[in-house]
Every structure is written in C-alpha cells, then in structure tokens.
Symmetry: C2
Subunit: 342 residues, 2 copies
C-alpha cells in the first residue's frame, strides 16, 4: 500500500509499505477513505531530526473494515468506521471512566508496528474497543464532519466539557486552528452565550463566527488580554487550543480569579507558571489530551442531523500522494486543515 512517512523536519514522503494484516485476534484492518493532517503533526514537521527509518504519520481516519481478527465481534467487513486518534480496549479501568487516552492497553498510530492514518490502510488493535460504526454510506457528504470525531471535534468538546462550559457562560477560546474552532462549536453547543475567539487569521475567525463566536480578538499579548477584559470583564472559563507559553499567558491574563483554563494544545513547554500568583488567584488548570473515543457516540447524533458541521474546518483536499503538499500548505498556514483521500 501507499502511506505517508516522515523522515525529518519538512521531509514527508509517500511510499510503498507492506499491506497491513491481522496480527492479533482483536485487530481489524481498515481501508482508509479519508484521513487528514493534524496541527500536532506540524510540530515534528518543524523539528524532527533527520532519520533513516521514517515514522508512518497520521492518527485521524475513517474507512471501511476490510478484515477482522477472530475476537472481533462488534464489527464486520464492509462496516464504515471512524477511529479515535488513539486505540484503546474500552474495558480497562481508565476506559471505563471515560479516559480512553490513558487506556492500559492503548497506543498511538504510527508506533509499535501499527500503521499511521495517512495511508491506504491501517491495522487497528482492539478494534471492538476503538472503532465506532457510522450509519451512513461511504460516499456520504457528512464524511468530513464525521472525520473530525477522530480528533479535532472531540478535542474541542473535551475542552468545553472540562472547562465546565454551560448555559449562559462567557468563554474565551485561545487559538483559531481547527481545534480552537471546534472548541467554539462545542462551547456554543453547550449553551455558552458569549464566546470570544482569540485569533488573527481572518478566514479562520470568520468561520469561528459562523460556528458561534460572538467576538474576535486579533490582538496578542497584553493588548489581547486587555481587549478580552474590555469585552467581558474577564472570563471564568478559557479553552487554550494552541499549546504555546504565549497562549497560556493570554489565558492566565484573561481569566478571572477562581477561573478555569482547559488546555487542549500539547504544551510546547516543560515548566509553566503555577507559582504563587496562580495559587493566590485559585486558577484551575484542567484538560489535556482528549479521550476522543469517550465522546464519539455523544457527538455523533449532532453531526448526523447537521446540528454541528465541524467538517467545515477542512478547507482543502489532497490525494494521498500529495500529502507532502498538504503538510507544506498547513505549515505555511495556507490551509487550515487538509483532508487526504487515498
């Protein structure tokens, strides 16, 4: 099969790889119909040291079951399924609590002999626990929105849920990437009344407004904080969807004492400002990597009936062989989120 492999910063290649086969009775092989490039793929794309052995890329995909292991009972060849961005058994203590990202048997695509999602097919461990069947045809127009349940929409939802967003709330979303925009959808869906989106890419913040953002703050740093405070008087709930220290500093500057910052962007820092000022102000830091699997069934009805349309974050489609172009376009911010069709 053909699949995308990263060999270092800026070096993504689509090459021939062995066709995935059932290796464990709990496996399924999924023939990929749609996958995409994640904002988090851009970090290694910017910084990965050159390597002789590349890493299969991609962790968001949906497709059709091609083969199943002997222990797979909930899925059958021909089923259309979406994969959350990590696999999980859905039976361990963490999965039972809804924290599938910490599954005792779980893991990540592209590692440990498991294929990446940016390819023609993927062997998925713990298929029954991981994959969610989709009640639509393989050519449904809903596919892009369903694909976001792999990661960005379930991640945005994780931010809104852990920040405790509810009816009538004022929420600040920091970051106008696909996750930030999905966080706007999620906050709106949970009833937030005022949603301030901090971002400076007009095309993206315009989409954010369509998703439910009531205000956009393009200023950064102290100026951005002042603008949020001017608009809101300060916010109790922040969803930080970038992962950089400046984004966290904006969150800390805009949040009211006693408020909550939910982090969705993988931190690009090891240490953060949780000393006396944050302590005296009773700031709560919550969030983290989304347990996407826990949220898929919950959000699925809203995608199916069109109540939310997170697939609109895909502003460009690429054939699989053009995956390197997709990375470049996203890194250059010419594309918000690239959908890949094998």
């Amino acid at each position: 099969m053909r699949a995308a492999v990263m060999y270092g910063a800026g070096d993504v290649r689509v090459e021939n790889r062995p066709d995935p086969k059932i290796a464990d009775p709990a496996d399924a092989v999924v023939r990929v119909i749609a996958s995409c490039v994640c904002g988090s793929d851009l970090w290694p794309y910017a910084s990965m040291p050159a390597a002789d052995i590349g890493r299969p890329m991609g962790h968001e995909f949906l497709g059709v079951i091609e083969d199943t292991g002997a222990d797979v009972t909930a899925l059958a060849p021909g089923d259309l399924v979406v994969a959350p961005f990590t696999y999980s058994d859905n039976t361990c203590d963490y999965c039972t609590k809804g924290l599938h990202i910490s599954c005792r048997n779980g893991g990540r695509y592209g590692l440990d002999g498991v294929d990446g999602g940016q390819g023609e097919a993927v062997r998925v461990p713990y298929a029954d626990g991981t994959l969610v069947k989709l009640p639509v045809a393989a050519d449904s127009a809903l596919l892009p929105s369903l694909l976001t349940l792999s990661d960005v929409m379930t991640t945005g939802h994780h931010g809104a849920v852990t920040a405790g967003v509810g009816r009538g709330d004022t929420v600040l979303v920091v970051g106008d990437g696909a996750v930030g925009l999905c966080a706007v959808i999620a906050a709106h869906r949970l009833g937030a009344e005022q949603i301030v989106l901090a971002g400076r890419h007009t095309a993206r913040t315009d989409l954010g407004r369509e998703f439910g953002a009531t205000d956009v703050v393009a200023e950064r740093g102290e100026e951005g904080i002042a603008r949020v405070r001017e608009l809101t008087g300060g916010v109790d709930k922040v969803i930080e969807a970038v992962g950089t220290r400046p984004a966290l500093d904006t969150a800390l500057g805009a949040v009211l004492d006693g408020g909550t910052i939910s982090r969705l962007g993988v931190p690009q820092y090891e240490q953060g400002p949780i000393g006396p000022p944050a302590f005296m102000r009773n700031i709560t830091l919550i969030g983290g990597a989304s347990p996407a699997r826990a949220y898929i069934e919950q959000l699925l009805p809203d995608v199916l009936d069109g109540a939310i349309a997170p697939g609109r974050v895909f502003d460009e489609e690429y054939a699989l062989d053009r995956t390197p172009d997709a990375y470049r376009a996203m890194a250059d911010r010419r594309t918000l989120k690239a959908l890949i069709r094998p």
Copy 2:
C-alpha cells in the same frame, strides 16, 4: 498595646505599638483572645531580609469586639468573633461567588496600616463582611477549634472541596502540618473512605490517624509514591498541603491519570511541571489560597457540636510576650502549631 513584629529571618520581637482605633466607618477593633503562628509565617521567619521597619505578624485570631465604626451594623462591642485570615467586604463579585480571598476591597493583616493578629488588638476593615460572630462564651473550651476556622481548618476544607472529595473516595493528603491534618479532618468529614497521610513526624501522623487517616506513608520521593500506589493502586484525589516541589512531585507520582491535585501550600516555586506528561495524563491542578470566610458558617456547627475538633492541632500555648519562642519551636518542629494568648 503589645504586638509581635518581624524584623528579619529569625528575628521576631514583641513590642509596644499604637492602640488600634477606628479609621473607617466599616472598621471594628477586636481585642484578641487567642491567635497563633501559621506555617506560612515560617517562610519569612526563614528568609526575610533584615529590615529597620518590622512587619506586624499574624493573621489568625479571635477576640471580642471593642469598638465599631458608624457603618458596622451586624456586630456590637462585646461580641465574640473569629476573623478569617484575610479581610473582605463580602459584597463584591468575588465574595458573592464565595471567593473572598480575591475580594475587590480585601487585604491582609499586617500590611497597609492594618494590625497583625499576633497582638493585643486588631483594627479589622470591612468588619461586617469579615468577622463571624461565635455563639459561645469567651472562655469556652471550644476556642482553639474555633480559632482554626481562621485558616487551617477552612484551608484543609478548601482542599477537600476543590479536590472534589466525596463519599467512598480514596484521598492522599501530602503533609502532616496543621493544614494537612485539617485536610484529613475535612476529607473524613466529606465521606472519604481511605485517607492516606504522607508525613514522617509520628506525633503528627498519629493525630492524623485520630482525625481519620486510614494509612500513613512516612517514606519520601519515589519510595513514598511506590508505597501510596501499593496501598491504593493510585489515587484520584490528592490534597497537597506543603507547597514544595518535592511535595508536588509526590502528588504527581501518586495521582492516577485524570486525577486532581488540590494545592493548599503556598508554592515555594515559580514554575512547575505542567508540560506534556501532565497534559497527556489529564492531571487537574486546582485549589489555592482558601476563601476562609466562605467556609466559616459551614463548618461552625460541626465545631460547636464537637463533630470535628481541629483545635487539637495546637500542641503548645504561649503568652504573647513569648511569641518569639513560639516561632522558634515551630521552626524547629518541636511544636506543631502554637496558640498565643495575649
């Protein structure tokens, strides 16, 4: 009047100071009956640079109203009252939310011309908003327990509440100081079933057991973490009642993915480990400086009927003139918590 003043590390003096007088119509003057030394007083006692002008010390006290300003309506001379460790108006947006520690008009004792609690009398700003009347006589045997509502008991309670402790829970309390011991009381009071107390001072951990700790872990560092995990399988809720990085590291090591660490000890660090590992594990950091005022009425009935006896943390009494000895004894860990009688 006589009052304790700190002039530098290790240098606490009891000296004559002006008698407090009403300066604002919302003030009251309280004649102190009992005050105490706080664990947080020990940080400046260890590190304050020598100064010509000293700082009046103490922020935990109870006493009798001696005089009130024209705007004070809820209190009258002769009332026995307890003071939370910061003053607050009890009417601003933060106070209304129960976050009195962030009161828009609030402040700290010993600063801005307000007396410290370790003295014969204190002028209390926003007396109606700050002070809570106590329905006992000034010679009640309950006074030590009532005094803990100033800080340590309401702080321990803040930890248990923000950590979300409830019936049947397993909780780790890091630290066997007065706040840690009060956190044990609070966790027990809220229904925790297994309470592991991490501390190495046998007299204190023994008291912790009487307060409701089911297990004591004396080991530190990796060994301590391993012991907590052996006893509990890891915990969902941690109350960190020390404030040092090793204490936070113990909390992070013992908490399960998706778990909550409530911090009660003022951080002795500016930056902390909130990078990718904490993010991937969905660790929540909550807590902070306690809004003591918000909790006093809530805990008062349990103190009055003897359901909780947090005053047992006072293991030594000192006359006001011996306050320097009280500091020394606490710094040397000969005294757990010193009660001071003017």
